[in-house]
């Protein structure tokens, strides 16, 4: 099998806030077409990592290369080739759905804007709401609209922060299938932070378990469950969250 192109390369990344490390000596790569899950309890450093990957937070040390380029020197080019959706960020509530997508399509210099918007609204079953005010959408509809925004520019790298957090199981399943389908068709790479273990299990090729800013376990879902001698990722998650600082062997022997 040929070696796939590296899309994200993080080396010894650290972020310190007032003497406390939110992320410490983090290194990982994401290959083209790979979906990487960042897992961890609240405060594990997932969001800080995502924010550094979006150039919203300056690292204290270490380097971030995306598409083989240094982020600080090629910020605009890199951000134009990636995109981001979070269940906790919204598009301006006083604009109509279609107006919001037009604005972001311009920002991302999308070609055939109207066609692309129509495709995405159809894909996420929002076409009937395109002339509605964004503020009037339900939280699930807003989450799907965020995903429309995030896919406008056919990103080569998509960062997702709890993408299905406010979706019902049916919509969450549809969204997972859409992301998987897009990833398979376009070779898009995805970094996904989630507390939803179904998301992680179904979507992610590889998982990084983070705790207090460092990676304490990584591999496929099956590998991680095997390491922790556990039947589910949720069980591993709880085990790690409740027994901070212990090695996998100590944890599993305790259970």
């Amino acid at each position: 099998m040929s070696e796939k192109e590296t899309v994200v390369e993080i080396n010894n990344l650290s972020k310190e806030f007032k003497g406390k490390y939110a992320v410490s000596d983090l290194s990982f790569v994401v290959k083209k077409g790979e979906i990487l899950g960042l897992l961890g309890a609240n405060g594990a450093g997932k969001t800080t990592t995502i924010h550094m990957l979006l150039n919203l937070i300056t690292p204290s040390s270490g380097s971030i290369k995306i598409f083989g380029k240094d982020f600080d020197q090629h910020r605009i080019e890199i951000l134009g080739r990636m995109n981001f959706a979070s269940a906790y960020q919204f598009l301006p509530y006083n604009l109509k759905v279609i107006e919001n997508l037009r604005v972001f399509a311009e920002i991302y210099s999308v070609n055939n804007t109207e066609q692309r918007i129509t495709e995405l609204l159809d894909l996420f079953e929002l076409s009937h709401l395109k002339n509605n005010s964004t503020g009037m959408l339900s939280s699930g509809e807003q989450t799907r609209l965020n995903l429309c925004k995030a896919l406008l520019n056919n990103p080569e790298l998509l960062l997702l922060d709890e993408p299905t957090a406010s979706l019902d199981p049916d919509q969450a399943d549809k969204v997972r299938k859409i992301i998987l389908d897009l990833q398979r068709r376009s070779g898009m790479s995805v970094i996904n932070t989630s507390h939803n273990m179904i998301d992680v299990h179904e979507l992610c090729d590889r998982i990084l378990f983070m705790q207090t800013g460092t990676v304490i376990a990584q591999g496929t879902a099956a590998e991680i469950m095997s390491t922790y001698q556990s039947q589910s990722l949720e069980e591993v998650f709880i085990m790690i969250a409740r027994q901070k600082g212990k090695s996998p062997n100590t944890m599993s022997s305790n259970n």
């Binding site: 150039n55 937070i57 300056t58 910020r75």
Partner: protein, 263 residues
């Protein structure tokens, strides 16, 4: 009525005020500004009595032109706050947008809004007071441009302060132009001010604009010194504002404020 509930809500308000110096400042700021503006205005009126025949056009022009500065500043700030309030910050700052493009868009909208305000207020002044703002001639464009630039500089600085200090600084969006109003000598000449305030006025671009405006209305021509001074000061302050904004932006990224403010 449950007094414990009232007490709890009063306590909540006091907690907010005690931890937010900008909010505490707000309590005293507007009364002090009113006192200064109306106090200096009264002194001016007492001195001139009926010896300034064009007082009415001066005041109307001053009100219209003051709004140019105010609009230009406010639009830049509110454009930013809109993104905060609608929780759209991360979508914007994680997009391929340069800070200069973000600010530039605010400048364009500020210019458009100020332009429309001058037209609407000019028409209303003509209708109600038979005053024609176009009598200021081509000088109107120079006065307008200088006030726009000063408004942009203030807007840029205040937006930088939002990035640095977060939500507590939001009150500045409305207050900052009025900090400069007394020394901008909008409704009265600089000579009315106490000497130390006159020095500050000389360093404020808007005071040169309003001095020039009064001269233009009373004599029909304007000393170019005022416009050169306003333009030079504006260039200087715009550079300072750009430097401050860049510093605050970098600081916000370094300390994680940009992401925190957006959450």
């Amino acid at each position: 009525m449950n007094l414990r509930v009232v007490k709890a809500l009063v306590l909540k308000y006091l907690y907010v005020c005690s931890r937010n110096s900008f909010r505490a400042l707000d309590v005293f700021f507007w009364p002090v500004m009113d006192l200064l503006i109306w106090g200096f205005m009264s002194i001016y009126m007492m001195r001139v009595q009926t010896s300034v025949p064009k007082m009415v056009p001066m005041l109307i022009s001053a009100i219209i032109l003051w709004n140019v500065l105010y609009r230009a500043q406010q639009v830049v700030c509110v454009a930013f706050l809109d993104d905060v309030w609608s929780r759209n910050m991360l979508n914007i700052w994680a997009a391929p947008i340069r800070p200069s493009e973000y600010v530039g868009a605010g400048y364009v909208v500020g210019f458009m809004q100020a332009f429309v305000v001058v037209i609407v207020m000019g028409l209303l002044a003509g209708f109600f007071y038979s005053f024609n703002i176009l009598e200021l001639g081509l000088h109107l464009a120079i006065l307008f441009a200088n006030l726009i630039i000063m408004g942009w500089s203030l807007g840029l600085t205040v937006t930088g302060l939002f990035l640095r200090f977060g939500p507590p600084a939001e009150a500045l969006a409305w207050a900052v132009p009025f900090i400069f109003q007394p020394i901008s000598a909008v409704f009265y000449p600089v000579e009315i001010l106490p000497p130390w305030m006159q020095t500050l006025a000389q360093l404020t671009p808007a005071s040169h604009v309003f001095e020039g405006m009064r001269e233009l209305i009373s004599t029909g021509h304007m000393n170019t010194f005022h416009m050169y001074a306003a333009f030079g000061l504006n260039l200087f302050y715009m550079s300072i504002a750009a430097f401050l904004f860049k510093s605050f932006y970098e600081e916000a990224r370094k300390r994680g404020f940009l992401a925190k403010y957006a959450a």
